[in-house]
Symmetry: C4
Subunit: 257 residues, 4 copies
């Protein structure tokens, strides 16, 4: 399945060189290429469907971030990447072609200078935990970063009865406050926001956070006592290598001709 | 998986231009093309298997609707589309080549002048809710339209002991009565009927109704308290953009050569 | 996924004409072609993995049946089909190249003159029901044939402590006795045997029996009361068309070049 | 899905002859080819993702074993295979390019002269059983080898609070002690180690151990009484043919051009 998807992605990827070489900015090109690959990996691995998005802080200006225009992640090409300031205003043109929820990105980048990349997703195994009083806990060492605790964002607190979307800076700010200094927050009835020091790590975290949710649900359903990672185990496990081996594999799957 | 399916679908799609150009009716051609794509998307995304169907009200005559002949949705081409009146009689030829359950479509179009497109499916995560006393409720904002409530059609009420199929106008009428003014009804032991203002929306609703059923079941299985969308949240969430971003993605997946 | 599998299957299918034309028996060729397609469909749809098999009664001699030699169903070609008598002895050569459990087929054909085709499978959603005291019941109208009741074969009764396999005519006979006049029997710790009047129906029954098991398990897990098909509904639903629409779709998926 | 993956794997496989023929060691070439295929099968069948590895004892020197360098199993080629001694030191070069957890392999080969091949995996249906007090038991005859009992390795016992990885010979030794003379051990919060007399059997065991875990969880969820294989049945079932039929099928799926 994944390789087939990769075939589909090959055409957009092929456009990369052409599109970005026209800009004559090799540094930006690399980061944009990475962001396009991150989009395709997230779609290919089922972390996002037609909805959900991934951004990266601009490596030339930490007050800017890069994010695709309003479209499905699996279809994103380099030409679709837009540069935003931290108020989530596009540097070129107006915001009408952007994701409604771009404020998730801008407000977290504002509140968290350490964060370099952000995923917003509706990954299917995360939704039940976002809606349940049962907390998401690390049952697999690949999700040790969950050991810091996963806050749940209740949009009713800052917003009352909404359409559930982070439609403005205020809601984005409230989400960033709920996230605090953690690697991820669940969003009740909606999905999750995941942050990290790099694109590779944020993609790995989003993937394994979703997988861990599935495994935890299965462990609970067995009916016995479940042993989760101890916070110290979780902390040590989360200090590992940044999902480089997984990135290489996932990238291979989306980049084959 | 989906892209592979797309490859398979490419041949039928390729027939579109040829088949419909012979009719010299550009307007109809567009609607038929859309209906063929809707069939392929539903099959490709697992909303229908060899059974289940999708129709659209004729844009030239609201007393008519378009529906494939008796066949699997994944194999439908433009040449397979039949035009029916609201008594579900084909305008050309006899009804022997039609879906047994075409009355689902005809009777709902009769009862609901607002409805422009209908899906009947056996989507696998919907069947358990159709058979259970546990009501289907929106746990994800993508399924806000479920907040209006999802009636369950019990065919025993109008039909007694049947073979479960909507084989005649009377059963179709009874189903339409159960549906009332809602976007969807479950059919006990069978599947669902989903309606909307357009093909794009009805496909999105059928997809996310099924996904929401899976997520709700998972949330229940966790054993904690589950917070569903408040009716007001659901109403606001369901007013969103009509699944255009998803349609573009799903269409891409079934239309690549 | 399915289409990709189909691509893989294309090579074996391509061998069909060549292999069977050498025998100069057009009638047998058609039946063998159908049996090869049935093997590929069952593998492609996940009803069998490397294990499990499907047979058909010889249309030229009801005291004979056709079954592949000992191999994975997904790899079967016409040249791999062996003709057996009802004692499960091959007409040509010795039995060393045959399935260990061919007695499932021979003994059921002996006991059930009405049966024309048999599937033995380890379909994953059936194993839990074979091991549980919870009976398999029809929750979907596509599995109405389950309404006759699904007996569970406990190999310990005739065989004591075995390796679980139907290794001889005596165990095959005992399984046939458990099956009685029903369309299917579960085999505890092992899988199922499914029978029908034709290859198309037996493939459809094996597929929807497995799907129904999944749906029933999901319905039970919701925690509410579950309404199953009434025996009369089940009987009427099972009288339907023989899964022809599904066969055409599944065949399309395994026969594309 | 699997076939598509196979297509992706075709390129690495094509490199085999070229790479290994340069060494002029036909015997090694066969074993290395088999090890590469085992890597690809495990990835293709979902037993491993980007993490997890498989080794084989060197057929020319039982004090050595063969294992890929630090990379995803699905990408392994013959040129990536490294030879280690039983202290998990590479014969050529330093260990910096090796799997962190290669000590799983070295220490088990030391403790178990009968073992010829080892899989370490994070197969998703195994993690819940590793974390739960509910024991993994054989519910399917394909997993009869589980009847010997599946010990659970608690890394806290030998290691206290760790990052969960088998980072040194001491932890590898402790795991080998927990494994004892059994075919497999679960690793709490991590995955499993599976051993066998051959590559074919260890791949089959890893696959069916994972499948059995899923089936057992489903059987438990039904809520009735579950009948597992009796230890004698399990012992007899596990004496079967070594998964040759499955190996041929899985190999076919990863080796098609």
């Amino acid at each position: 399945m994944k390789i087939c998807m990769a075939i589909a992605m090959a055409a957009p990827l092929a456009l990369l060189g052409q599109t970005t070489s026209a800009r004559k900015t090799p540094a930006a090109r690399t980061l944009i290429q990475e962001l396009v690959i991150a989009n395709h990996i997230l779609a290919n691995e089922g972390v996002v469907d037609a909805y959900g998005h991934v951004s990266v802080r601009d490596d030339r200006n930490p007050q800017h971030y890069l994010l695709a225009r309003h479209m499905a992640a699996g279809l994103v090409t380099a030409a679709d990447i837009v540069e935003y300031d931290l108020d989530s205003k596009p540097l070129n043109g107006d915001a009408s072609g952007g994701y409604t929820e771009r404020f998730i990105h801008g407000e977290i980048y504002k509140a968290r200078p350490d964060v370099m990349a952000i995923v917003h997703c509706h990954a299917p195994d995360l939704i039940p935990f976002g809606a349940s009083t049962v907390p998401l806990l690390p049952v697999s060492h690949m999700a040790g970063f969950l050991g810091e605790g996963v806050p749940v964002f209740e949009i009713r607190n800052p917003g009352g009865m909404t359409d559930m979307l982070i439609r403005n800076p205020e809601l984005g700010h409230a989400l960033a406050q709920t996230l605090g200094n953690k690697p991820a927050a669940l969003m009740r009835g909606h999905g999750a926001a995941v942050v990290a020091l790099s694109l590779h790590i944020v993609v790995g975290r989003a993937y394994y956070m979703n997988l861990n949710a599935r495994l935890q649900a299965q462990a609970i359903a067995l009916g016995g006592k479940v042993t989760y990672l101890d916070p110290e185990e979780a902390k040590k496990a989360s200090a590992q290598d940044g999902f480089e081996r997984a990135w290489e594999y996932w990238k291979h799957k989306v980049s084959r001709p």
